[in-house]
């Protein structure tokens, strides 16, 4: 029974991926990609990765989907004919390359070692020292904290990259266009009703992350999505990126993370090590500091490069 379900989900996902690639209409491809991203969350649930399912639904399907569909809408009127299509022989060669890569990967999947290598016993043996109950949170903020630190810094770098695409005249201005919607329309209605619920859900997902599936990335995505909804409905506007408070909130989380890491070098003998007995409070401090920074970074990544002067 469950095997039938798995097979049909796999076939459906594959069909959606092919549709996304093959359809002629750009907008249809964007819609297909969103459905694809949401179906992937089912795969993650079946692979027993609930934390990954949450982030896939929120970021992979949600934020990426909105980003792609918004830009597809803006590029809709561009002449697609300007693009040069590849000839039949080149397409056949590309199909052969793609087929060989897929076949090699499939062979690797069938040849995976049995029993599989795993780090789960080491995590189980050491999780008590961190004080958190969710093994993934323990990996993210204790065992592999350096990855998480570099990740939040990569997000800031990506944001700097997006901002640097601003035309000279509007540097420091407000990102994206000013959205307007019918104040009595369904979008504005949702933008008034959903955020109070969404903000509570986001903070809850963040709060339970220490011991259950969830965490700061998933929670921050929820908060960013709620702001995005209000902005698209014209109820609020993006702040000018030259604001001092905005810059401070952006870097506060990573700075606290680095400061705690450096303090660990003094008190516990290694960068990002926690002194015995203080692991849980320090992990919570990092999570609390990262949450607003991440929410703002994700929201501003969605908003795009500055397009309007900051001062009207």
């Amino acid at each position: 029974m469950i095997e039938t379900l798995n097979t049909s989900v796999a076939v459906l996902i594959l069909a959606l991926a092919i549709f996304t690639i093959a359809t002629r209409e750009l907008f249809a491809a964007a819609v297909g990609f969103i459905a694809y991203g949401l179906l992937l969350t089912l795969v993650w649930v079946q692979l027993h990765g609930l934390d990954v399912a949450l982030i896939e639904g929120a970021v992979g399907g949600g934020l990426t989907g909105v980003l792609v569909i918004a830009s597809a809408a803006r590029l809709r009127d561009t002449p697609a004919t300007a693009a040069v299509r590849l000839g039949a022989s080149a397409r056949a060669a590309a199909a052969i390359v793609a087929g060989v890569v897929a076949a090699a990967l499939a062979a690797c999947v069938l040849a995976l070692p049995d029993p599989a290598s795993t780090l789960a016993p080491q995590v189980a043996a050491n999780i008590a020292a961190t004080g958190v109950g969710n093994p993934i949170t323990a990996v993210l903020l204790a065992f592999r904290a350096i990855d998480t630190l570099l990740e939040v810094i990569v997000l800031i770098f990506a944001l700097i990259g997006v901002w640097s695409l601003a035309p000279d005249g509007v540097w420091g201005g407000r990102p994206g266009p000013r959205y307007e919607a019918d104040p009595n329309g369904i979008l504005a209605y949702f933008a008034r009703i959903l955020p109070p619920i969404g903000i509570i859900v986001g903070i809850y997902i963040f709060w339970v992350g220490a011991d259950h599936p969830g965490g700061k990335f998933q929670g921050a995505t929820f908060l960013a999505a709620m702001w995005l909804l209000a902005a698209r409905a014209g109820l609020t506007d993006a702040p000018p990126i030259s604001r001092v408070w905005l810059r401070i909130v952006l870097v506060a989380g990573p700075m606290v993370f680095v400061a705690i890491g450096l303090a660990g070098a003094v008190t516990a003998g290694a960068f990002l090590a926690y002194p015995a007995g203080y692991a849980k409070p320090l992990i919570l401090a990092i999570e609390w500091a990262l949450m607003p920074s991440l929410a703002l970074t994700l929201a501003l990544l969605m908003a795009g490069a500055p397009q309007r002067p900051g001062m009207p």
């Binding site: 690639i21 750009l26 990765g49 980003l67 189980a124 993210l140 990740e151 997006v162 005249g169």
Partner: protein
């Protein structure tokens, strides 16, 4: 067939489909989509490997699962940067093509003037 094998094979096929789209499709936004399909295929493959490492009452090996969360967020930031580059290209040249010899209107100010798009 176990879930890990089914989704592992599905992931291998997704990488192939995405790679084909990335090479063949001339439109930049379609290339970004195809690249994301490749990325999610790699993630699912890694997720199947993580599931096989289930032990000690955990549903999967938590180390690859945590790396997956990191990977998905980083993939999003790369997509956001790529889309921003694409929109900037559109604002400067008025068209979106990666072909270097395609005709396009060159704006004298290099796209620096602020203008409201209709």
């Amino acid at each position: 067939m176990s879930a890990t094998t089914i989704f592992g094979l599905c992931a291998a096929a997704l990488v192939g489909v995405g790679l084909f789209g990335l090479i063949v499709d001339p439109q930049p936004l379609r290339k970004i989509l195809a690249f994301n399909v490749i990325g999610s295929g790699v993630f699912v493959l890694f997720g199947a490997v993580a599931r096989r490492g289930a032990a000690e009452g955990m549903g999967g090996d938590p180390v690859p699962q945590a790396l997956l969360i990191t990977g998905i967020v980083v993939a999003f930031s790369a997509t956001a940067l790529a889309v921003a580059l694409l929109l900037r290209l559109f604002n400067v040249t008025g068209s979106v093509t990666l072909s270097s010899d395609a005709p396009h209107e060159e704006r004298l100010d290099g796209g620096n003037a602020w203008r409201r798009r209709p």
